[in-house]
Amino acid sequence: MASSSEVYVSAENLTVIRRAERVIAVVGNPNTGKSTVFNRLTGMRQKVANYPGVTVEKRVGRATIGDSAFDLIDLPGIYGLSPYSTDERIAVDVLLGRILGTPELEGILAVVDATRLYQGLYLVQQLSEMGYPMIIALTMTDMAHLEGMRIDIEGLSKRLGGIPIFPVVATRGSGFSELKNAISGMFEAVPSESEPPVFWPDLRHAAEELRKRIGESAAAFQVVELERAIIDGDPEIVESLRVEAGDSSLDYLLAVRRDLCGDTPPLAAEARYRYTWIRERLSDLQRQISPLPRLGRAAINWFNQPWPSALSFIFSMGVVFQAVFAWAAPLMGMIDGATSSLGNWIGGVLPPGILSSFLVDGIVAGVGSVVIFLPQILILFLFIILMEDTGYLARAAFLMDRAMRSFGLSGQSVVPLLSSFACAVPAIMATRVIPNRRDRIATILAAPFMTCSARLPVYALLIAAFVPSTSFGPLNLQGLVLFGLYLLGIAGGVGTALLLKRSVLRGSNPIFMLALPEFRFPDLRSVILKLFDRARIFLRRAGTIIFAVAVVVWALAYFPRSASIEDGRIAARGEAALSLSGQALQVELDRVDNEAAAEHLAQSLLGRAGQAIEPVFVPLGWDWRVSAAVIAGFPAREVVVAVLGTIYAVGGQADEVSLAERLQSVTWPDGRPIYSLPMVLGLLVFYAWCLQCAATLAVIGRETNSWRWPVIAWTYMTILGYVGALTIYQIGTA
């Protein structure tokens, strides 16, 4: 299978050997320290891309050992060659050489966790039977030692037919020089000498029998492919068998499978056989002496009890939120400040006009609207990664599974959903921990309903301006409305998840199986690497879209530019300068500028769109200005505050008090106030439910790998928000 990739260039009596780098896959169960081994071998020289058509990350890195180099691929964790999720399918497909654009493997570095030896060896058996040269890195040997586990490594290697095994501590790097030596010598053995062992000969015989019966056309299939077809009925292989070798080959397949497994499901037969083999042949190589006393163990055990665990969960989520708001808010303030001073500086240097406006309100503001997300994303992800690496995320899922099941979800949805109270973007990115696709999509569509921090400025403005601060005993009406909006968000999200799971995403999750990793101290290096990864993914995939949308909205608000408004503005400024001076002049100049900005906006494409769409929103009590502001808020809902400032001629950067005063005074032509209580409550409900966030849409698109889900989510949430606002306004004004 391993093809030689050496090119011999002969120059007289000198032979130069130039080889393309050998490709080695790093394979192992989830959470065995695979990525830590990979990172340590490759350092920072990694490339992260996506496998075609899926959101599974493909991590490739180069390891230089002595003077040879190797390309390592870090595959998603698997328990065996029968995949149950997209991640696992990708890993198996790479091993079978079925993925376009991924170089053909030449060797395997199997990573086995010493504290979970049997599950690792189950996979090792299957990998060995694939026929690649292979070595085993035995990780967590420090943990095994603490647990009092002693493994006879030489004996184990011998019973596994000579597969070399190297004990390491991946976090500390001990054992790596031996491991590296072994990797560089991996391809030097004479092939005939290192015929890889076969652990389940009956399966091998069955595959060879199948090949014989099919005849010539079976030559196109590797023996492992036939084996997987016998065990899993892998649809891709079965289909190509049918195409290549005709329908009769499927009858042969069934016959061979029946001979091998009888009536037992083949995968069950395989598990029985291989685990029994491991238990009976290897149990004497593993000795258990009494574990070293460790203070931490008792404490962790106590904390894993249901109630302490629930309390610690509430506490840690509290800390996460505190951190997101306490640390992110000042950083976001700084980014905001930096963008506006950069904008002001450009506005001061360049003459007013299209270039200045494009740079300031298009480019700088657009970049700002991307970067502003970074503090929250990084802080939230820091906590999520820490939870993941310490094993806490799985504990939280275990704790909350029962409760989440009543919403049709599973325990793994709980942290993403809670994160979306800070920001839906990292929350949706964090849904990757959910292996079940239907649960994952239901969680992704529920997340944007949760009241994120970007909704707060809108809520704050409208509540402060229009909801009377009457108190009912200790309860304040403004506080109650805010609380109600949070509840509305939760109700919307939970209702959506339930609805989806009862309809298009129906189907229980039959394989809710969660491995609960031991508590471990996280490795700083991999935490930082993962954090960089998240930031990079966000900037590259979501950032470009957010930026583009921001520029489009700028263009809509800028064009067409009316020369007469501009002439009027200049004339008015000149007049003011003649009659006024000092403070009064500045106030008048600002007024003139704000008036002109409002007039420009009124006749811009955005203003016209607001007027055109006004009839749709009149039943909600909105005039064209509100409609235009809502359209402009599409890329980012918090922008609506600034647009309202511009539209009502108090300036885009007006403080909330003066904007609120202005809003209270605007009326319909017949003198009724536009911002009546029913209209404002409706507007609040609209913002609680609608999906006014380009970043969220971009991330939904990326994480579901289709444009369909963002379109569905946006349409659904906008309709829901509209109907909510309509209902409240109509009831309130009836």
Binding site: Y275, M513, P517
Partner: protein, 92 residues
């Protein structure tokens, strides 16, 4: 050559994994291999003859935490019920 392990008949007690008390040990006796998700669990080592320890139940009694070959696993009750077991006496 090594052949299929002999699957012992389910014992008279017919207890399953969900009947254990915390820290109880048991050996898996027979498995309803056709139930959904069971093959996946077998792939993780829950086969006949495997020793398993029930650790604790989560809030509200479900899911259940078990220890198998050094791994802590969480199973929902309906999955645990697919595994018939023979308890191992504490001192044995």
């Amino acid at each position: 050559m090594f052949s299929q392990p002999i699957v012992r008949k389910a014992s008279l007690t017919s207890m399953d994994l969900s009947d254990l008390k915390p820290n109880d040990k048991a050996v898996i006796q027979s498995i309803s291999t056709d139930a959904p998700g069971v093959e996946r669990l077998m792939m993780m080592g829950l086969v006949e003859g495997t020793e398993i320890v029930f650790v604790r139940a989560s809030l509200g009694g479900d899911p259940l935490e078990f220890q198998v070959y050094g791994t802590a696993l969480s199973l929902r009750k309906e999955q645990a019920q697919q595994f018939k077991i023979e308890p191992i006496p504490i001192n044995g």
